[in-house]
């Protein structure tokens, strides 16, 4: 009878009267950890005093597979990493290999790539907003976001036949020509979209409870953000004005005008505002791009068998989650010698332990949501 009836957490250092420090296991199967992330929270009552992230449940060894596939064969694997933003993964990989080859996609291909990547960014942010609001308790935004996201997925399906893991791009350019009413579809989506974003903002931005649950939660100062190499909306919300699309333009981003939203004090609310503004900017890019998609070939002179000269390249793009980098070493054969993928979700997650200290359990959920992590990319 002795102690198998301990009603409190497992192996917690509980003293006689009540518990001093409880270890609460969140995940790997938990409604709000955005995938198979397991967090061991050390709690003092409700307040979090420490945490340890256990990852690797979704590790598929993508980098090992890369060394046994040819450059073209590896492209579909890249979509499976950040399965919420597959198109931008593909863009990153294809451009990295093109840099390795010293080749370049024709202008028409680059413009279409930019449009699809920006649409994917909007879709990824919509999915983030829906799940993030759902974690904090607002049930309605999820369905509005999914309704808009559905429109984008329809465009992807029309373009390349797949909704989620699209494998839309090829090394050197595009496989498929833009279907004929491509511009009309994109315009039909983008035109009313900013009123839709206003709709979400009317639900959340000035909502007292939403502000109460997000302002001042999970603060990451600019210095810490740089030290923890956060990237994407996480670092911009901390006040660092840096976006790879502006700093080192790739694809056709240098042709279009758009601003980079920057937050002030790096809390959950600022990250929310930054991402909402980013959606609006992406819409502007798409509208500018579909005005004139230049004519011309969609596939560069790259040839069937790709044998990049030996050497290495590191190419990074601004994925919705942050800087998605590809470090590819080639040894002159048709198979990459080493492919290293810099996962923005994993590196943003490093700052998680610092951000949740001193908060309550309910905030942990909000902070996981605001980091916008996808476990496929964290575990690779």
């Amino acid at each position: 009878m002795a102690d198998e009836r301990i009603p409190f957490a497992t192996h917690a250092e509980t003293t006689v009267l009540g518990a001093d420090e409880i270890i609460l296991n969140m995940g790997p199967q938990h409604p709000s950890t955005h995938g198979v992330l397991r967090v061991k929270l050390r709690l003092d009552g409700e307040k979090v005093i420490g945490s340890e992230c256990v990852i690797g449940y979704l590790h598929r060894g993508v980098e090992k597979i890369a060394e046994h596939r040819s450059y073209q064969q590896f492209a579909p694997y890249v979509d499976r990493m950040d399965y919420v933003a597959a198109v931008s993964n593909g863009l990153g990989y294809c451009e990295a290999v093109e840099k390795l080859l010293g080749a370049e996609a024709p202008l028409r291909a680059r413009v279409i790539r930019t449009i699809l990547t920006e649409l994917q960014r909007i879709a990824s942010h919509l999915f983030w907003l829906g799940t993030h609001a759902l974690d904090i308790g607002a049930l309605t935004p999820l369905f509005y976001c999914l309704r808009e996201r559905e429109e984008i997925l329809k465009i992807f399906e029309k373009y390349c036949g797949a909704r989620l893991t699209t494998h839309a791009f090829r090394i050197g350019g595009l496989q498929y020509e833009a279907y004929d009413e491509f511009e009309k579809d994109v315009e039909r989506f983008c035109k009313p979209f900013d009123k839709r974003v206003d709709e979400y903002e009317s639900l959340l931005t000035s909502n007292r409870i939403w502000v109460g649950r997000t302002k001042g939660i999970g603060i990451l100062t600019a210095k810490e953000a740089i030290d923890y190499a956060a990237s994407g909306p996480v670092i911009r919300a901390s006040g660092v004005k840096w976006d790879i699309r502006k700093a080192m333009p790739y694809a056709a981003y240098d042709l279009y005008k758009f601003e980079i939203p920057v937050g002030k004090n790096g809390d959950t609310y600022d990250r929310y505002i930054v991402r909402m503004e980013e959606m609006r900017q992406s819409r502007l890019i798409c509208l500018q791009a579909i005005e004139n998609i230049p004519a011309g070939p969609i596939m560069g002179k790259v040839g069937k068998v790709l044998k990049p000269p030996p050497g290495e390249v590191y190419h990074a793009i601004e994925a919705p989650k942050g800087e998605l980098g590809y470090y590819i070493v080639s040894d002159g054969t048709t198979q990459p010698y080493r492919v290293r993928i810099r996962p923005p979700s994993l590196i943003n997650l490093e700052a998680f332990d610092k951000m949740i200290r001193g908060h309550l359990v309910a905030d942990v959920v909000a902070i996981i949501g605001t980091l916008d992590i996808v476990l496929g990319e964290v575990d690779r």
Binding site: A2, D3, P7, T14, V16, L17, G18, A19
Partner: protein, 168 residues
């Protein structure tokens, strides 16, 4: 006739659950039996049409104090307190004392029976609705004791807050 049945039902319920409160090993079950005992006495008040007393008993005891009891029980790490030394081996001494006390009570009532102004028990329905009655009496004749009691409670509350404050 129905009144008799109802009364005896509540009375036996109260007695049984009172005994069970003491004999149960599991502290939560004894708490539940304590609640049933209190509710049974409340039932008897209701049966006597003293509605105000009934609802005060329910709110105060069952709704207020017992919630506190159950709250504290949940916080205590139950199974460790299980091992504390149980001194219920002297239950026979307890029983003896109880019997002695019972005897004294019955004797006192029997002797004093003549002296007590126990008039004919008023029929139940004759009583005026008790809430207004209690209210009027409480705030007219017994104004002062009411104020003293409220100040006492206030002091107790502030004391509790101060004690808890240190820990937070």
């Amino acid at each position: 006739m129905v009144d008799q049945i109802v009364f005896y039902f509540f009375a036996t319920l109260a007695v049984i659950s009172a005994v069970l409160v003491v004999t149960r090993r599991n502290v939560v079950q004894s708490a539940i039996f304590l609640i049933t005992a209190l509710l049974a006495t409340a039932g008897i008040f209701l049966q006597l049409h003293a509605e105000f007393l009934f609802i005060v008993q329910v709110i105060l005891y069952a709704g207020g104090i017992m919630v506190l009891f159950v709250f504290v029980i949940m916080l205590i790490n139950m199974d460790i307190s299980m091992h504390q030394v149980q001194f219920n081996r002297q239950w026979w001494l307890g029983l003896l004392l109880a019997l002695v006390l019972g005897a004294q009570l019955t004797i006192a009532v029997a002797v004093g029976r003549a002296g007590l102004p126990l008039g004919e028990p008023a029929p139940a329905l004759a009583l005026e609705p008790s809430t207004q009655l209690v209210g009027r009496v409480l705030f007219n004749e017994y104004m002062l004791p009411f104020e003293i009691a409220s100040i006492l409670l206030l002091v107790a509350m502030i004391g509790a807050v101060v004690m808890a404050k240190k820990k937070v």
